[in-house]
């Protein structure tokens, strides 16, 4: 303790100056993702689905975990992204994947910005209901224009052009997996930059005490609208990847289950900790996959049980639990 008490300034300075530096452990999830590619070459369809969910959960973590915006409407942006790509392909005959992602991001961001301007005046339960209703409204609009959207039967015949004009899609989804992993890595980097910026710090301030943020002169609603828009764009990209990799989309993408599922993922993994989306996404998808094989009708019971256990015994999520255990192990020898 003597050395720590010596210069509190240096310690404090070092803490803020270095906390955005990369920790070696942050390489682990990426190494695991790459290892999975070689270890389970025949399970890449499932792997692709996991990556899409992780990206979707990451988009929610940015607003829920960091800014404290509790929403049940994140599926709206996922669905918008999914449909942007689907309609571009089927109705406009345009299937270039990467510009498709940008288009999906733009559409989702635009809707996120406009709805955010209105919805983010509210908090708590009101916001929860409003975000949920927005999603249902979008879904019903899609249903109204069934001849364009294909309704709940979906749009058939989505064709996505080869990636970069080079890599076509193979039966085992190796291209898709790699493609999604690269997109996830790029957007993860973006989210990480934001989280460790002063803007990200302000989001934490809003989460911790919105009254105090007003009282330090922060344009709170403006900050929330900006982060909500960014989150919508990322959710839009995840939806676009969903359509591109499954070549299929129905109005089911707007389902309440999807908003609730992604919330479950974050609670499982831990909110506001970047890698919680990874831990939660992988565990959720593995549980869903194995439990639904075990019992196609009651698999959600298993997820529910795990959720209850996590909420009771690991309030900071499984990733938080792992961190705590790691800290304890490290402390023991000393």
């Amino acid at each position: 303790m003597a050395s720590t008490a010596a210069d509190p300034h240096a310690r404090a300075r070092a803490y803020l100056a270095t906390r955005h530096h990369w920790h070696w452990a942050e390489a682990l999830p990426w190494l695991i993702a790459i290892a999975a590619f070689f270890a389970f070459p025949d399970r890449m369809t499932f792997g692709t689905q996991v990556l899409v969910m992780v990206l979707f959960a990451l988009s929610l973590d940015l607003i829920l975990g960091y800014a404290g915006i509790v929403t049940l409407g994140q599926a709206a942006f996922f669905g918008l992204g999914a449909y942007t790509v689907g309609l571009l392909s089927v109705r406009a005959g345009y299937g270039e994947p990467i510009t498709g992602l940008f288009a999906a991001a733009a559409v989702a961001a635009a809707v996120g910005f406009l709805t955010g301007l209105v919805l983010l005046r509210y908090r708590g339960l009101t916001l929860l209901v409003l975000t949920l209703s927005t999603t249902i409204l979008l879904q019903e609009v899609g249903n109204l224009f069934k001849d364009i959207t294909g309704g709940y039967d979906g749009i058939p015949g989505i064709t996505i052009w080869p990636l970069l004009g080079l890599f076509d899609y193979d039966l085992y989804n190796h291209t898709n997996y790699t493609y999604c992993l690269v997109v996830l890595a790029v957007l993860f980097y973006v989210v990480r930059r934001i989280v460790y910026s002063s803007f990200g710090e302000a989001l934490a301030g809003i989460r911790e005490n919105v009254n105090r943020m007003h009282a330090v002169g922060s344009p709170v609603r403006w900050r929330l609208v900006i982060v909500y828009t960014i989150s919508a764009a990322i959710a839009g990209v995840s939806g676009a990847l969903f359509t591109q990799t499954s070549a299929y989309v129905t109005l089911g993408v707007f389902d309440f289950d999807r908003s609730a599922g992604v919330m479950t993922i974050l609670i499982l993994g831990g909110t506001g900790r970047l890698y919680g989306a990874f831990a939660g996404g992988v565990i959720y998808m593995l549980l869903e996959d194995s439990l639904s094989k075990l019992s196609p009708e009651f698999w959600q019971f298993g997820i529910g049980l795990v959720l209850v256990l996590v909420v009771l015994f690991a309030r900071r999520g499984l990733f938080g639990l792992a961190q705590d255990l790691g800290d304890r192990l490290r402390r023991k020898p000393a």
Partner: protein, 251 residues
């Protein structure tokens, strides 16, 4: 010279209940002004009206001669009104350093930076540390706010307000609930504040009031009962009557 802060005929009603009645108050630059009154007199309401947490039913708030009555709270803060809260309003899950960092960063517009890491904002970090030094909080810089004892939290409240470099500082019972062994530290801090800042302090503890204030306004049931120098207030029979049983018999 225009006053730092001026309140004109300020009135606030909730339905039929008038909680602020035609209050007039002037804070000159560098003022050391206390607002006293029994519980429920509407002191905190007045602070909320000045800072923009509440909108008045009638009347005006002027900052350096400019009407700010219609401005939102955050906009008023950016123009130079800072406050501390009677009940701590801190970022409990963040470190003390981050609490003060946020105040400095919002003042400087640094929180608009989405891409630059906090660690790269050297000037903001240094200023936040300087504010912590001034309030002898540097040793606690990396502690989470929720881990600090109450007396220290009151200091963090003040540190955040000062980090906004206010022209007008509103202190809502800064030493309330702090054991007397620690409250002298808070008093020393207030006594040592920049003489250019206009200060309005709400306080029940008359020791604190008489040590800090050069001028006192007495608020009763939302209206100004009287105002004057500490000596005048002590001599006022009506004030004694209001404070029946409370210790105003000070030198």
């Amino acid at each position: 010279m225009t006053a730092a802060l001026e309140i004109r005929d300020l009135r606030k009603s909730f339905g039929a209940l008038a909680v602020t009645r035609d209050v007039n108050l002037v804070l000159e630059r560098g003022a050391r002004h206390a607002l006293i009154g029994p519980n429920g007199a509407g002191k905190t309401t007045l602070v909320n009206l000045i800072t923009g947490v509440l909108q008045p039913s009638a009347g005006h708030v002027l900052l350096e001669g400019q009407d700010i009555t219609r401005l939102l709270q955050a906009a008023r803060t950016r123009r130079g009104i800072a406050r501390t809260f009677q009940i701590n309003q801190l970022f409990r899950g963040l470190t003390v350093l981050e609490n003060v960092y946020l105040a400095v960063a919002e003042r400087e517009g640094v929180c608009n930076h989405l891409w630059r890491p906090v660690g790269a904002e050297r000037a903001v970090i240094e200023e936040a540390l300087a504010h912590l030094d001034a309030l002898r909080l540097a040793d606690d810089a990396l502690k989470l706010v929720r881990e600090l004892p109450y007396g220290r939290l009151r200091l963090v409240e003040i540190a955040i307000a000062l980090a906004l470099r206010p022209k007008v500082l509103l202190l809502d019972e800064p030493a309330a609930g702090v054991p007397s062994s620690e409250s002298h530290l808070i008093l020393d801090v207030i006594a040592g504040l920049d003489p250019d800042i206009a200060i309005l302090i709400i306080e029940h503890d008359m020791d604190v009031v008489f040590r800090v204030a050069k001028y006192i306004t007495v608020l009763v049931q939302g209206a100004v009962l009287t105002d004057g120098t500490p000596a005048e207030i002590v001599a006022d029979e009506r004030v004694r009557a209001v404070y029946l049983g409370e210790e105003v018999h000070h030198e």
